[in-house]
């Protein structure tokens, strides 16, 4: 006979408000195997857990049911509690009488009756629980960071400082990401390069960090602690060991191409480094625009290269590396505002996006920081800044707020006034300044730098002579507004990195409808994913500014450090298990397993008549198996079970709930 203890939680009034705790306790006391029932205002609190441990010892309980919130919330907490009292942590079941009951069923009678049923389910299931031990697997003490922006760099530095090797894979020729494109950063107006480049240099010089730029992740196999990642090192056509980054090659290269880094405002050569402070400061040859690759002639770069590092026949290289943990820090893209035909982006040269303005105002930018408007290079006197371009607009498929535009638009207004005494008109719906020092920054823009904030949306922008007429409305004054501007800056939305969903499926992590990666729990586990061993940092998880990104990078790094610092990794014991006595060896479970964790093996057995025979049976590799259980349904005999969710468990639960 089992001795089950049932602990019913009030959760303050969250449960007790719509579930009669006493009735649940009374019903639980009468359930089979229940030896002890107790209720607690806050079971998950320190005293609550202590009460459980006390009851386990005093009442000699061998099974525990906690009727409280969702197991996805505190199952691990209570496992530790039960473990702390000397009972195997897996002899525990949670009855979800909050999210699945008290919070969603206001009628107390029905709610209580359902709570009793949910407790009965847990009591019937826990009777079938068996003690389980965590298996331990070894951990490759190496981390992979996908994306070399500020998030990736910060995480790499933190991990490297903890003495663990880390590889940063960056798609573009240099690390730095979008932050490298920025001029100043809010709210302190620090120059972006001044705070970023030292970190880039640290990352380059740190022996624990290996930078793999101009490379992409191709394939990811394995599981936490034992990832095998295939990385495609795209052909640079430059031998980085020899190249000193002297720059002669890109000065001599005749092919001029619009620079992606400068968003088309500036030009670059076919052999190039994206920006002067690029790390590694070694160029790559862009095969699409290199004259040699197009016509077979030229080779100017090879001729002038003092160290002979140019090699045209370099091919892409597929490298396979082992990692214990992965941080995804692939960042964001700025949304192309052309769908707003009425703003004339792409038609009028002087209608530019916020990022393009950053290149204009950036000292190391194509215009050396002079805010020369693209059409005629004149310094703009009046500038219109339009907020929420794309963001908060379901029609454009971007329902969310991009979080950073209000702040960087205020920054643009300040820079415009500070540098060229230009007067900014900012059309906004709401100005959102939630960060530390943000509201004050916005006040400075309006008071000290005389930016005019007009609450209303711009309906149309059209060219009138050399001016851009912005038709809008000031909804506070309730009158039409027409501003003749020299330059229009669109605060365009922050969207997912292109190819985000493809990388997600390669990694086996999930993403939301906006292709931002889904965190394990919005509040409690923002930098983890549902796939153990894979973490998130920065804008790839959703729009955010630099301070938040760096904070997330540090958080993700600390998760990785704690994972890699353990000698061994304890795996979840809830994996598949074969009952060899009744397994027929048909192996129809094998093709189902997505982790290739099942294979055949031969067992010896004495059968009636004293003969010893050999017969095939299925065998599960517990470290590969993730416990999904899809194989159990293919097993007709029921020989294949998944611990924690066995056939016996689920049949008992169905019976309990149908009583």
């Amino acid at each position: 006979m089992r001795r089950v203890g049932v602990f019913v939680c009030w959760c303050g009034s969250n449960i007790a408000g719509t579930v009669d705790i006493e009735q649940v306790k009374a019903a639980a006391a009468k359930m089979p195997n229940v030896a002890y029932v107790e209720d607690n205002k806050y079971t998950c609190s320190e005293p609550g857990q202590a009460a459980i441990q006390k009851a386990i010892k005093e009442q000699k309980l061998d099974r525990v049911v906690v009727a409280a919130c969702s197991p996805r919330m505190h199952e691990n907490t209570f496992r530790r509690t039960v473990g702390g009292a000397g009972l195997n942590p897996y002899l525990l079941e949670i009855a979800n009488i909050r999210e699945h009951c008290s919070w969603v069923h206001p009628d107390k009678v029905a709610g209580t009756r359902k709570a009793v049923d949910l407790v009965r389910r847990a009591v019937y299931k826990v009777a079938k629980n068996v003690p389980l031990q965590r298996a331990s697997i070894d951990v490759t003490k190496r981390a992979l960071i996908i994306g070399g922006g500020i998030a990736g760099i910060q995480a790499a530095l933190d991990i490297a400082d903890a003495g663990q090797p880390v590889v940063v894979v960056e798609k573009t020729p240099s690390i730095g990401g979008h932050m490298a494109q920025l001029d100043k950063t809010f709210p302190t107006l620090d120059c972006s390069a001044c705070i970023l480049t030292p970190k880039m240099v640290d990352a380059a010089q740190n022996q624990n960090i290996t930078l793999m730029t101009w490379s992409e992740v191709e394939k990811v196999d394995g599981y936490i602690g034992n990832f095998t990642v295939t990385i495609r090192k795209k052909a640079r056509h430059v031998d980085t060991t020899k190249c000193t980054g002297c720059g002669i090659c890109w000065s001599k290269c005749p092919a001029k191409v619009s620079s992606e880094f400068d968003l088309g405002i500036g030009k670059r050569k076919a052999i190039y480094v994206p920006f002067p402070q690029a790390i590694p400061n070694k160029p790559v040859i862009d095969e699409k625009n290199c004259i040699f690759f197009k016509t077979g002639k030229c080779k100017a770069c090879q001729m002038f290269c003092p160290t002979g590092s140019i090699s045209f026949d370099q091919k892409d290289e597929l490298v396979e590396e082992k990692f214990g943990a992965i941080i995804v820090a692939t960042g964001y893209e700025q949304w192309d505002p052309s769908p707003y035909g009425e703003y004339g982006y792409g038609r009028y040269k002087d209608v530019i996006t916020g990022l393009e303005f950053e290149r204009l105002v950036n000292a190391s930018g194509p215009t050396e920081g002079k805010i020369k408007r693209p059409s005629d290079g004149k310094l703009p006197k009046d500038v219109v800044i339009i907020q929420c371009v794309g963001s908060r607009d379901e029609a454009k498929g971007i329902p969310y707020c991009s979080k950073t535009c209000c702040m960087y638009s205020a920054k643009h207004a300040i820079l415009l006034e500070e540098k060229i005494h230009a007067h900014s008109y900012v059309f906004y719906m709401d100005v959102r300044t939630p960060g530390k020092g943000y509201e004050e920054f916005y006040k400075r823009a309006t008071e000290e730098h005389h930016a005019t904030y007009i609450r209303g949306r711009v309906s149309r922008v059209y060219q009138k002579g050399d001016k851009l007429v912005c038709l809008g409305e000031d909804t506070l004054l309730g009158k039409k507004v027409e501003v003749e501007a020299d330059l229009v800056i669109l605060a365009s939305a922050m969207v997912h990195q292109n190819g985000a969903s493809k990388l997600a499926q390669t990694l086996g992590i999930s993403y939301d409808q906006n292709e931002f990666y889904t965190e394990a729990h919005a509040k409690l586990r923002p930098v983890e994913t549902n796939t153990a061993g894979i973490f998130l940092a920065g804008a790839c998880q959703g729009p955010k500014d630099i301070p938040e990104t760096v904070a997330q990078a540090g958080a993700a790094a600390s998760k990785v450090i704690s994972l890699l610092s353990k000698p061994k990794l304890e795996t979840e014991p809830l994996v598949a298990q074969v009952n060899e006595a009744i397994c027929s060896g048909c192996l129809w479970c094998k093709p189902i397993c997505p982790y290739k964790a099942i294979d055949g093996k031969v067992v010896k057995e004495r059968i009636a008549g004293g003969k010893t025979i050999e017969r095939p049976v299925a065998a599960v590799n517990a470290s590969l198996c993730q416990g999904c259980g899809a194989c159990t349904v293919a097993c007709r005999t029921g020989a294949m079970n998944v611990l924690g969710f066995t056939n016996e468990h689920i049949l008992a639960e169905v019976d309990a709930l149908c009583l």
């Binding site: 796939t531 259980g629 709930l657």
Partner: protein
């Protein structure tokens, strides 16, 4: 006492379960839900945290993946007296184990038709993809199913008579 009040008269030895005797007074349909831990169970939790009200007729059983839900559990639920069964998991492509729901989809394309073929009314078994962010969809699905079952009355075709 379970939600289904012992009021349902114990039918005779092998009465013909298809004769539509009217539902007992105050009868409430009972729904057994199988929800995958990563998506639908999380969706149901979200319905909770967002305080979305829905009928208390469903009892959810958590399973690691929709691929774990054996059609025999569904028929077992009907046998033990469930009036409706909901099988739910991640949208194809979002499965935490990458392929679990593809197998579930195949199994339930067949199982749903087969259970209907054996005489269970089609509305009684609902299979839905409900993601972790679709709390509203979970609540709506439960409400819809409850209303359909109220119209249909108690499930008698596979129910055992003790």
């Amino acid at each position: 006492m379970s939600v289904n009040e012992k009021a349902a008269p114990a039918a005779g030895p092998a009465t013909n379960p298809t004769t539509a005797t009217p539902a007992p007074e105050g009868w409430e349909p009972k729904i057994i839900g199988f929800a995958c831990n990563w998506c639908t169970y999380a969706g149901a939790d979200l319905a909770g945290t967002s305080r979305i009200q829905y009928p208390p007729n469903i009892r959810v059983i958590r399973v690691p993946c929709s691929g774990r839900i054996n059609p025999q559990f569904v028929v077992r639920a009907f046998q033990r007296g469930a009036d409706g069964v909901l099988v739910a998991g991640c949208h194809p492509g979002d499965c935490h184990y990458s392929t679990g729901n593809y197998f579930a989809r195949r199994r339930y394309l067949l199982a749903k038709r087969f259970i209907e073929y054996l005489g269970v009314e089609p509305e009684r078994l609902q299979v839905r993809w409900i993601s972790g962010s679709e709390g509203q969809k979970f609540a709506d699905t439960v409400r819809e199913l409850t209303e359909k079952l109220r119209a249909l009355g108690p499930q008698r075709r596979l129910r055992e008579t003790l």
